[in-house]
Amino acid sequence: MTDTPLDLIRNFSIIAHIDHGKSTLADRLIQATGALSAREMKEQVLDNMEIERERGITIKAQTVRLTYPAQDGKTYVLNLMDTPGHVDFAYEVSRSLAACEGSLLVVDASQGVEAQTLANVYQAIDAGHEIVPVLNKIDLPAAEPDRVKQQIEDVIGLDASDAVMISAKTGLNIEGVLEAIVTRLPPPSGDASATTKALLVDSWYDAYLGVVILVRVKDGFLKKGQRIRMMSSGAVHTIEQVGVFKPKLVPTDSLGPGEMGYVTAAIKTVADTNVGDTITDDRNPAAEPLAGFKPSIPVVWCGLYPVDADDFEKLRESLAKLRLNDASFHYETETSAALGFGFRCGFLGLLHLEIIQERLSREFDLDLIATAPSVVYKVHQTNGEMFELHNPADMPDGSVLDHIEEPWIKATIMLPDDYLGPVLALCNERRGQQVELTYVGARAMLVYRLPLNEVVFDFYDRLKSVSRGYASFDYQMDGYSEGDLVKISILVNNEPVDALSFMAHRSQAERRGRQICEKLKELIPRQLFKIPIQAAIGGRVIARETISALSKDVTAKCYGGDISRKRKLLEKQKEGKKRMRQFGKVEIPQSAFIAALKMDA
């Protein structure tokens, strides 16, 4: 079944900017090759997570194996990988690229090249891919294929004269895409007689099968019953099942060179499956592992705490299972005075943070509180020592502090010329330094250095609103520099709420402090007592609000027939108080903190 000759295999990723139609194109390819019946088909069928379907975005890369009888009379095996477009899931893209030899670069013919188009295509070029440009959505009246072709050549430097013009939505010219895949993308190389070498691309937990790993075989075979070794951990397992994605998991006898598929091997220890690891034969191991992946480095951290302290262990297990499915996510235990036992978690960005939180609550039925997101600061102390600060609550006090460095990014923003003014103003307000401003027709490409801290705080939302949604944004890390940074504490009823403290540049401190106090004032319901809310740097209050006591709350009629109902209501209210945090004599619903913490996400 998988002894397909190498020259009849094509492995490719579909890459693009967000929403340019990758998953829709994948649908059409699946349909055109008959991998799924009409009954099984639905829109963006590969986006199988509930959150993906709700939000209409791809979060996890997905693989399908298609068979295509080409015009040359030969039948090819196509392994397709649909990737996410959002910058926060770039690690999914990079791993998919490592498993393939070619890419379809999808560009929305009405929008043209956007920030993630660039980011992703450069990654594909770095991975040594052959790239076929595909102009999608040419059914749209606003489509300008010629202008976009020119743009691809000017901005990316890719020959777009043979770009395949399609509409993934209507199915126009899907045949052209299939032919381009077999004629223009290279087959994989590999050695069937060499010792087994396969790349561990991804893994996840399946309720029936246990840990499932996605592999790309380079040399040799993977077979049922074979004893395999993970080269980095040395762990040894016996293969229970190998198979391919159609896109359902279908077992096969073996997986040969050049193929993609899955392996199950009764793996219990999550730590045994590191993405990027090389899988080899235990009795006849390879000498050298494959190149693997660069580890992902989280840029945003926040604390995650169970609302119910009893859920701590469940949270730990859930994080381990999620991590199996998302190697770009990191976590370690921490404790908070306000929130108890929890985990400090690292993410590739705010959307990533939000998605992980959602997945934890949906897939694992956990009720969580997340603290304010923070970037990683380098804190230099007077004794010459430096440590990385992941949590503002760990800031040492002023006397031992020498200076702080903060991470910067290099951001690429593409936008129509009309919105340049307000976008420049936004970047400057966020302490940005302009690096470059170039034009491609009427579209500006702006390169800015920005402190990551300023981007984590509501930057996307502001960018979207000042550009009416026309600006696209991508970034990469760009080193550390010293900054005048301070820790701002939030006090509710004169007690600091460690989970709400955050770092900010001194010039932004007052504005940010005031903002959060105002927000809390809105969010915290009036209570029996008045509640002062303050933002402070050290002992100095920089902003303050007061929530006045509620003015009237009493049931007008309460007679003999009302007692039971009143008591039950009271019991419900008391139950609700379990979800509150006590600050002296006032109780604040956790939902208020959560909402305050969400305000910039």
Binding site: Q527, L528, K552, V554, K557, K566
Partner: protein, 387 residues
């Protein structure tokens, strides 16, 4: 536990009305024809059944509530009062209250109710403003209300009436004027309720879709204080959240609820709480009038829920009712009625904070009461204070 010397209060529910008022969530039903004989007999049977269960005791009050009990025939009321007097030991000054609506039909029968043994009337006047009466969907006008009040004052030694305020757009000055006019009508007792949107009523639908809005927060608080001020000028003291009386004219029957005394509840949907052999038995009856009657006819009673309340629940009930009263609660009585020492029934830190904030206060007699400011926020205060 103290012996069963606690006098009883007896509530009798008449579940029928001529029309359903749009704000009302009481167990009231509209019927073209009511089989008076059948419902009267069923009430008497259920009363006899409960009397046999709780035994002979002093009886301090009877209250005919509804619904509209003034639609009941005075003969039925007479029979029930007579039964009660026979089954229990009536107090010499036993209070017997009848809720009455001020339509002319009912007014004409007030004397017959007095002859039946009723000595206190509670009239559902609701407003002295024609537009407000229409808004409230009432079937009487201001003239009829005043006529009913005057008739009732001449017939009954004690008289109370109900008004609903904090209506949409009601200004403080207008309410003060309306209330003064009401106070001048010389009742010794008033129930003054802020309009409440009850789930499931017609008003809930209208209010929910934004057809009208009620005074809230500070505005509602201002109206509340204005009410107490005006009542006080006429010598009526606020003795419960919504009840105002001349000293001595308080509703004894309703005080039994707020003091967490024993009460029987007879009739469709009625609730009952009686301490029997140290257990507080809470009973609720079937709400549908015909089904209620059928069950009574079959088995002597129509209880659909009956449970012995846990001590902690009893303490909560005693406190949530007692703190509605200006006189507050007596810690020793809370313990006697619930079996839970007062100190264990409340959160000591919150008690201290609430005393400190002047929401609660100890009286010289050692009672704990909610202050005016405390009563105003009682619903928020209770879940914080109670354990």
């Amino acid at each position: 536990m103290p012996a069963v010397t606690e006098p009883l209060a007896l509530y009798i529910h008449w579940p029928f009305c001529l029309a359903k008022c749009p704000y009302c969530d009481f167990n009231s039903h509209v019927r073209d024809r009511v089989d008076e004989a059948r419902f009267g007999a069923a009430l008497r049977r259920e009363l006899a059944h409960e009397a046999a269960r709780v035994g002979r005791r002093p009886l301090a009050s009877i209250f005919f509530g509804g619904g509209t009990p003034s639609l009941m025939s005075p003969d039925t009321a007479a029979a029930l009062i007579e039964d009660a007097r026979r089954l229990f030991d009536p107090a010499p000054d036993m209070e017997v209250t009848l809720e009455a609506n001020p339509t002319s039909v009912e007014t004409s029968r007030l004397a017959a109710f007095r002859d039946a043994g009723v000595n206190r009337a509670s009239l559902g006047v609701q407003s002295l403003d024609e537009a407000a009466l229409r808004f409230l969907g009432r079937r009487h006008d201001v003239g009829q209300a005043i006529a009913a009040l005057e008739a009732a004052r001449a017939i009954f030694p004690r008289l109370s009436f109900d008004l609903i305020y904090a209506r949409p757009g009601q200004a403080e000055a207008a309410w003060r004027a309306e209330l003064r006019q009401a106070l001048a009508l010389a009742a010794d007792h008033l129930s003054l309720y802020q309009l409440t949107i009850e789930p499931g009523t017609q008003f809930a639908t209208l209010h929910g879709r934004g057809d009208f809005a009620l005074p809230e927060g500070d505005d509602a608080a201002r109206l509340y204080f204005a009410t107490a001020e005006e009542a006080a000028r006429f010598g009526l003291r606020s003795y419960e959240v919504s009840n105002y009386a001349k000293p001595g004219a308080e509703s004894r029957h309703n005080l039994a609820y707020w003091r967490y005394g024993d009460y029987l509840g007879i009739g469709a949907g009625a609730h009952q709480r009686v301490l029997l052999e140290g257990r507080m038995i809470a009973t609720r009856r079937h709400r549908a009038p015909e089904e209620w009657a059928a069950r009574v006819e079959r088995g002597g009673h129509a209880a659909v829920e009956e449970e012995a309340l846990a001590p902690a629940d009893r303490a909560r009930e005693a406190l949530l009712m007692g703190l509605r009263l200006a006189e507050g609660i007596d810690p020793a009585r809370i313990e006697a009625r619930s079996g839970v020492p007062f100190a264990e029934a409340v959160d000591p830190a919150m008690l201290a904070a609430l005393l400190d904030e002047d929401y609660l206060a100890w009286t010289e007699a050692g009672r704990l009461r909610a202050t005016e400011e405390g009563i105003l926020r009682l619903d928020a205060l209770l879940p914080v204070l109670l354990r």
